[in-house]
Symmetry: C2
Subunit: 312 residues, 2 copies
């Protein structure tokens, strides 16, 4: 493992891929490796890209990557699909994407699905971001489908979050998923050459008129067409403005600190949960109590409290 850690810090792609697999599989050496990498992290700027399936998140990520590379910065891309069992770039689309960047040492792409993320997908994403950060990526882009709570948790790693919408019935404001609105720092109306793009923009702006922007940042609503790269420069500008806003108001450090705090508590929970399961598995009491629950003598809450009171 030691040599892979050294490899990552020296910017070696293969070592990075190896360690990411280790992290995803929640291997026994994971903790030690992450511990060794940790002092070398915190430098990458994290951009989240979320939106409905088919909104063009991957193409948008590719356009952003090209622009960022032109500025001489390196990019790590993590494509998270909570509904996919595939991990490690097994999907055809990702393989094609990877070929585009295969020769560019400044771009690292990784797909993550549910399989091979035994410690939970949000947890694994956070850790893979850290690996790419240590690898030296100046920018890490995390893209994921915006559907449920787990996807919101995944987006929680980002400094700047883009919510990608498209013209068309499914994206009218009233159907925008709960929770997704709140996490947007920038709205992108992609496929803006389709009918109705302006309508979507107007609707989102109308909704933003009604929201309060307590942190002093009103999310801009930008139009993009990835095929022609229209609007991408403006999008990069908006990301930079958001970054500058975060830094000037102290929100940048504050938000990162808050996230680390949450993460530490999550790890505490994770460790304790593992302990509970281990000690409960071995217990005779639990079998007796479950039988009682089965016979409707006590309900699951009472049984749980009895287990806790006995002490774990």
């Amino acid at each position: 493992m030691e040599k892979y850690v050294q490899g990552i810090l020296a910017g070696d792609k293969r070592s990075t891929a190896k360690i990411i697999s280790l992290v995803e599989n929640d291997g026994p050496e994971k903790k030690r490796v992450l511990s060794q990498l940790y002092p070398h992290t915190g430098k990458a700027y994290i951009i989240g890209v979320t939106g409905s399936p088919g909104a063009g998140k991957s193409s948008l990520t590719d356009c952003l990557t090209k622009q960022i590379r032109k500025q001489g910065l390196t990019v790590g891309i993590i494509a998270v699909d909570p509904s996919s069992p595939f991990t490690g770039g097994a999907l055809l689309g990702d393989r094609i994407r990877m070929q585009d960047h295969a020769l560019d040492k400044g771009v690292f792409i990784r797909s993550m699905g549910t399989r091979g993320s035994l410690g939970g997908l949000a947890r694994a994403t956070k850790e893979v971001v850290r690996v790419l950060d240590a690898y030296g990526s100046d920018v890490v882009i995390v893209e994921t489908v915006g559907v449920g709570q787990s996807e919101l948790d995944i987006m929680d790693v980002a400094d700047t979050t883009l919510v990608v919408l498209t013209p068309g019935a499914g994206d009218h404001v009233q159907t925008i998923k709960a929770g997704i609105m709140e996490i947007a720092d920038i709205f992108v109306v992609n496929k803006a050459d389709l009918d109705g793009a302006d309508k979507v923009k107007t609707e989102v702006e109308g909704m933003l008129d009604l929201s309060c922007h307590g942190n002093g940042w009103r999310p801009p609503v930008l139009l993009t067409i990835t095929r022609t790269e229209q609007g991408i420069t403006d999008l990069i500008d908006a990301i930079n403005r958001h970054k500058a806003h975060l830094e000037s108001t102290g929100s940048f450090q504050q938000a990162r600190k808050e996230r680390l705090r949450t993460e530490v508590l999550e790890v505490v929970e994770h460790v304790l949960r593992a302990r509970i399961h281990k000690s409960v598995e071995a217990s005779q009491d639990i079998a007796r109590l479950v039988a009682k629950v089965e016979n409707r003598e006590v309900d699951p809450y009472v049984a749980a409290e009895e287990i806790i009171s006995v002490g774990i």
Copy 2:
């Protein structure tokens, strides 16, 4: 609360709705109420219905409900939408559905979304099933979109799980979501009047040929058209056959026991997690440790272990 509990046990719809809201909002009296209802549960047969958005799960549930009602049995329906913020039947479609059954005391319909399910949607679903069970529903149908892990957790309440597919590109076997295949006791190819229904059936059967059916039950693949109610009688037969299979092999009690065991452990975790957060909030140590993590002196794992070793 006492009178609502009595109301449920007497088969009063309004009391049932009240208590379900209490459960969803994770109110302070929830535990006591569930405890009082618990001895009156375990009688309902639970059917899970899952599949992609637009597969016709609601129409299928309605068809099943009609047939089950004809047999003189009562039905509780829980429509869970993990991507919706709405709860309590606020969606237009559900309002229309409810009107259909509004005068039928033997049918209770409830929509659940993420808002108002503060204790987690899978947890809340389990508890609402129990309320409907105590209310006297002979059959409880839980329908939910099959997307991520949380939806799989929701389906975990069911004795018999139907996976609903439709003809068309999105449902070819290779794109069937991971995890969904494993939970199917019965496959339903709905909208079977559309082109390609037989192809989907053939593909699923082919896939089943390759799977092992260790429990002696090979999921049947049925074609249905909800508009004309074609195939619904066969589907009811298949559900009854699955039920008989579970009972004759002892799997019915075994699976329910296993689920109760899991539930007790979940509650243990839930209670402990709440305790951790409470004691950690009050701690000075945590602030000091998070600062260390922020300065990259220790990583989150080391900080977490230090917190645990200090004792919570």
